[in-house]
């Protein structure tokens, strides 16, 4: 990778620059870094901790009620349980959300749509499976229309059991996710 890839300069100059070295290392390697290189540097150093600190304290989730747990999700976002104090805020569109809450039964008809929603969310992003249906099919395990094992389609970070779990358990689930992000143990490795 040379300067001519980034800035429009004659290739001759580029070739000349590549011969220059600083303390025995090519100049271009030090001065001209790529995005990947920046990421490598960030991943190695403690600066990642600062980024993750920011990420874990602003987990915005997608309002996507699908089943009984969807009702508890609404309540979780409201004053009585007040998720805002953890930086958790409900959003109406996947473009603004960080966390996808699978709050119910995934059916054959809905699986492509929810996969699509997951694709529309911007990185970094996480998934929480709330309730028995999202974990294993729950009471509808023997239905002809239910997908039982959600974890094959989504990299689920936290499972919150319950049918439906109480809003307090939602808070606990999000706290677990925050811990995971802090310890850099989340599924997608942010």
């Amino acid at each position: 990778m040379g300067i001519s890839d980034v800035v429009p300069i004659p290739v001759v100059i580029d070739e000349e620059l590549e011969k220059w070295t600083v303390w025995g290392r090519p100049l271009t390697n030090i001065w001209l870094t790529t995005t990947e290189k920046i990421h490598e540097i960030i991943d190695m150093g403690p600066i990642k901790n600062i980024l993750n600190w920011g990420r874990k304290n602003s987990l915005w989730f997608l309002m996507q009620p699908m089943g009984c747990c969807g009702v508890e999700m609404l309540v979780f976002g409201c004053p009585h349980y007040d998720c805002d104090r953890f930086g958790i805020i409900p959003r109406a569109t996947p473009r603004q959300a960080d966390v996808l809450i699978i709050s119910g039964y995934i059916t054959r008809k809905y699986l492509p749509a929810i996969k699509n929603l997951w694709g529309q969310m911007l990185e970094p992003k996480w998934v929480i499976a709330i309730g028995e249906c999202a974990i294993s099919g729950g009471p509808f395990y023997d239905s002809y229309n239910i997908i039982n094992n959600t974890s094959d389609f989504f990299p689920i970070d936290v499972y919150v059991p319950g049918c439906p779990p109480r809003p307090e358990q939602f808070i606990k689930g999000f706290r677990e996710l925050q811990e995971k992000i802090k310890r850099r143990e989340d599924e997608r490795g942010y």
């Binding site: 996947p94 054959r108 492509p112 509808f140």
Partner: protein
């Protein structure tokens, strides 16, 4: 007042020989098996001469022992009399076909489509037999037939194949199991029909029209459903509704559970009205078994169902207001706080916040705890005060009134034709309430008004709900004063086995008329459970209601119906 016997006499004199079998269960239930060739004429006679203008639904039953399918048409009246006529039509199992009632009743459309996709029963003269709830690759396997095999299956997922198409979207294919192939329930020839997307694109007329998608995930939807609008500029020319995104097959699952095991499943039909759902399922079994519920249990059921109505209306109205005014429109936040108080009252009895599984065949699960009356009275006082405040707030808010007044007007005739019930129907000047029409439990002893409005617009629908909250508080207070002591559950054997028979039982859900049609064959599991839900009718009425509206008003109209997708899809 017309009774079932009068209707039967009228039918027999008008159509001699067409009624093959009949049973008069009580003054307001008439069961009859009719000649399949005359079903349309009989229904027309009932509609025009006997005031059966409320088509409540249809149920298919697979009588595999007799090699028959039975389709039961459920007809009722919008307030003229309380008789429900259940007309059964039999059709052979190898070439099932019955006559469609879509020419007589507008709302027969969805019920017949559902029976077609689940049982494969053809409806002659139906305008468009397209699948309603099922995904296209299940159509043709007829999942509600008794010989449907392959499912239940624990590992659906290992068979799911994910394929990314050229547009970058994932497509899924679920291959059949060996059991299915062996049983031959994998369809070899599938019915041919245009897909949902093709059907709506076919109807585009001019260059300036386009299809605007709302859903399956959208801020306005309380659960996933797809609303596609064909718009020309800002006007909605036509709306197309696709439901079934969370179709769980509850009616099939209930056939594989005993009567007690079925109760938790009915909770999840509509999670905001789970107590009414328990009530309607258990009540139907009680009718077959012929049990009378002890009076104290009846009072407990009424108290909890009314509390449940309050919390449902608070959440429904609050959520709708938040959609109208954005997330910061504060009544939502206040209503959730009020709702929490009601929820704690219910929770102190049932132990659960939303899915209670509380009602049992012959009574209730447990008694009211100590201090329940005081706790509930203080919660009700808060709710009544707050609700009056909301009404005042909404009345004085000009923006709210401009967005809601005169929007989505439903005339009384139209509302009845659409088969609506509950608050949307009552907002259209039709005081039709199951608690009055077909009274159950201790409702006849209680003093309450049926709330109705004349306008029929979105604002009236919200007002009816807010007034019903106050009325429900009044009912609960009366019950707390009048509740007698005594047992809470009739002695019923642990293994419930109702005698062979059928029952149709209906209650007033927070959202309208909820009915269950239950068939028992004497075993410990029901043969068929058909749920007639109120939201099914709301959703069916939504596309014609949206026609001609502005795009900006779609939220105000669709949201004011307070639909619960889970119940439509079941």
């Amino acid at each position: 007042m017309t009774t079932a016997n009068d209707v039967l006499d009228a039918l027999q004199s008008a159509f001699p020989g067409a009624i093959q079998e009949f049973r008069v269960e009580s003054d307001n239930r008439l069961w009859a098996t009719v000649d399949p060739n005359k079903i349309v004429e009989i229904c027309k006679f009932l509609r025009d001469e006997e005031d059966f203008d409320h088509y409540s639904g249809a149920a298919g039953v697979d009588k595999i022992d007799e090699d028959l399918f039975e389709v039961t048409e459920i007809l009722a009246s919008h307030g003229a009399h309380p008789v429900v006529a259940l007309l059964k039509v039999k059709t052979p199992r190898d070439t099932p076909s019955v006559k469609s009632l879509t020419g007589l009743f507008w709302n027969a459309d969805w019920y017949e489509r559902e029976i077609w996709e689940m049982f494969g029963i053809n409806f002659e003269d139906h305008p468009g037999l397209y699948p309603l709830l099922l995904v296209d690759d299940l159509v043709g396997s007829w999942p509600w037939r008794k010989d449907f095999k392959g499912y239940p299956d624990y590992n659906t997922n290992e068979r799911v194949l994910e394929k990314i198409n050229p547009d970058g979207y994932a497509e899924y294919k679920i291959s059949p199991t060996e059991a299915e192939i062996e049983a031959g329930t994998v369809p070899e020839t599938r019915p041919e029909y245009p897909t949902f997307r093709e059907r709506e694109i076919m109807e585009l007329e001019t260059e300036s029209e386009m299809i605007l998608h709302m859903g399956p995930q959208h801020a306005i939807v309380p659960g996933p459903f797809m609303l596609d609008l064909r718009v020309d500029g800002e006007r909605v020319k036509k709306a197309y509704l696709d439901v079934g995104y969370i179709h769980k097959g509850i009616e099939k699952i209930l056939e594989n559970r005993t009567y007690i095991q079925g109760i938790p499943i009915t909770d999840r039909m509509c999670y905001l009205a789970s107590l009414s759902n328990n009530e309607v399922f258990c009540g139907a079994a009680e009718r077959i078994m012929g049990i009378e519920v002890p009076e104290r249990a009846q009072y407990i059921r009424v108290i909890l169902e009314e509390l449940s109505r309050i919390q449902s209306h608070l959440l429904g109205t609050g959520e709708f207001l938040s959609l109208l005014g954005g997330a910061t429109f504060s009544p939502f936040q206040w209503m959730i706080l009020d709702r929490e108080e009601i929820i704690s009252c219910i929770e102190s009895v049932t132990g659960a916040r939303i899915n209670h599984s509380f009602v049992r065949q012959g009574g209730v699960r447990n008694d009211l705890p100590d201090g329940f009356a005081e706790m509930t009275r203080s919660a009700l006082k808060t709710v009544v005060d707050k609700t009056n405040e909301y009404k005042e707030l909404l009345l004085s808010d000009n923006i709210y009134r401009k967005r809601m007044e005169g929007i989505g007007i439903l005339s009384p005739e139209e509302a009845r034709r659409f088969g609506l019930s509950g608050p949307p129907l009552r907002a259209s000047d039709t005081p039709y309430d199951m608690r009055r029409e077909d009274p159950i439990l201790v409702y006849p002893d209680l003093d309450f008004n049926v709330i109705s409005r004349k306008e029929g617009d979105s604002k009236a629908r919200v007002e009816v709900r807010l007034d019903e909250i106050i009325e429900s508080c009044h009912i609960v207070e009366q019950c707390l004063d009048q509740i007698p002591g005594g047992p809470i559950r009739e002695k019923v054997s642990k293994k419930i086995k109702p005698a062979p028979g059928e029952a149709y039982y209906r209650v007033e859900d927070p959202r309208g008329e909820m009915g269950i049609f239950l068939v028992s064959d004497g075993s410990d599991k029901p043969v068929k459970v058909k749920v007639r839900g109120p939201v099914y009718a709301y959703m069916q009425a939504l596309p014609p209601l949206l026609e001609g509206a502005y795009v900006a008003d779609v939220v105000a109209i669709a949201g004011s119906m307070d639909a619960c997708t889970s119940e439509v899809d079941r």
